[in-house]
């Protein structure tokens, strides 16, 4: 199956599948209505080719640290800030790769970047917000957003 854009349902399904496989298989990642703000730490990957845009995965610091702890099989307080950023980057890398697979070729995936707050690429003000979903996990917010670059519209 190939698509030309991303529905909320597709983004939610892939995010939950990857979350369950990598972070927490208890089914406790739950969709929660509208996005009011982004988290403290955001990972992103760019897609270029038949579709151009950026995927963001944004966490509260508490959620990011606990997700990283699950991935490292370690206690949250034992992880360094770099460990937490690494885990956030890997999660958006896997989510981005699986979403990219739905696009017609060619589609290239960038290396992930992780930044405090929401990184704002130069095209963001003119980009189209394709999908934006808020989840709750361990009573903390997690947001995934898909932006389509203006040169792709």
């Amino acid at each position: 199956m190939t698509i030309t854009s991303f529905s909320d349902e597709t983004v939610a399904e892939i995010t939950k599948e990857i979350w369950s496989a990598i972070v927490d298989d208890s089914g406790s990642l739950v969709a929660r209505g509208a996005v009011t703000d982004y988290g403290d730490l955001t990972g992103s990957v760019d897609i270029s080719g038949s579709w151009n845009g950026t995927f963001y995965l944004s966490f509260s610091l508490t959620a990011a640290r606990q997700a990283a702890a699950n991935m490292f099989a370690a206690e949250a307080e034992d992880l360094s800030d770099d460990d937490v950023r690494d885990a956030v980057g890997e999660l958006i890398n896997i989510i981005g790769g699986n979403l990219k697979a739905l696009l017609p070729p060619p589609a290239l995936l960038s290396l992930p970047t992780v930044a405090t707050g929401l990184p704002k690429p130069t095209h963001l003000d003119e980009a189209e917000l394709v999908s934006e979903l808020r989840f709750d996990w361990i009573d903390e917010p997690i947001v995934i957003a898909v932006w389509r670059a203006p040169d792709d519209q």
């Binding site: 496989a21 980057g89 896997i94």
Partner: protein
């Protein structure tokens, strides 16, 4: 004991994959990119299997596979790509470069075991020293 080299720029993914392989009773080494892995392969004891990510700085996984396959002293080493690149064209590219198998992220311990067993490695392979169950990532 089977000796595995995990090549991934993500420490968290190396941790996940390393736990799974150690759960299979394997001895596991890690490298953070293709260049570091190649240096390790040239200088050290050759592993039985290398599990290699695609997107890494310095040298990508596909570049590493091509480089390994071009070196006679590394002939016969089993290489498995482990990546979120799941399109058929990408899988074909990796296999054409010389990868023996392909695991798509996210994966389960069972999926890793099944792929390695197809290559005669790990808990599902006949004659392997199985010492434990895979742990979930």
């Amino acid at each position: 004991m089977t000796h595995a080299l995990v090549v991934d720029d993500s420490r968290s993914m190396r941790s996940i994959l390393g736990r799974i392989l150690r759960g299979f009773g394997m001895d596991v080494e890690e490298a953070p990119d293709g260049r570091a892995a190649l240096d390790r392969l040239v200088e050290g004891e050759r592993p039985d299997v290398a599990l290699v990510d695609w997107h890494m700085p310095n040298m990508t996984g596909v570049e590493l596979v091509s480089e390994v396959r071009s070196r006679p002293e590394l002939a016969g080493m089993t290489i498995v790509m482990v990546t979120s690149e799941s399109e058929p064209d990408q899988i074909g590219l990796a296999l054409a470069a010389g990868a023996d198998e392909y695991i798509i992220k996210p994966f389960t311990p069972d999926a890793v075991a099944d792929k390695l067993a197809m290559l005669g490695i790990g808990p599902g392979a006949s004659g392997c020293n199985q010492t434990g169950e895979g742990t979930a990532p």
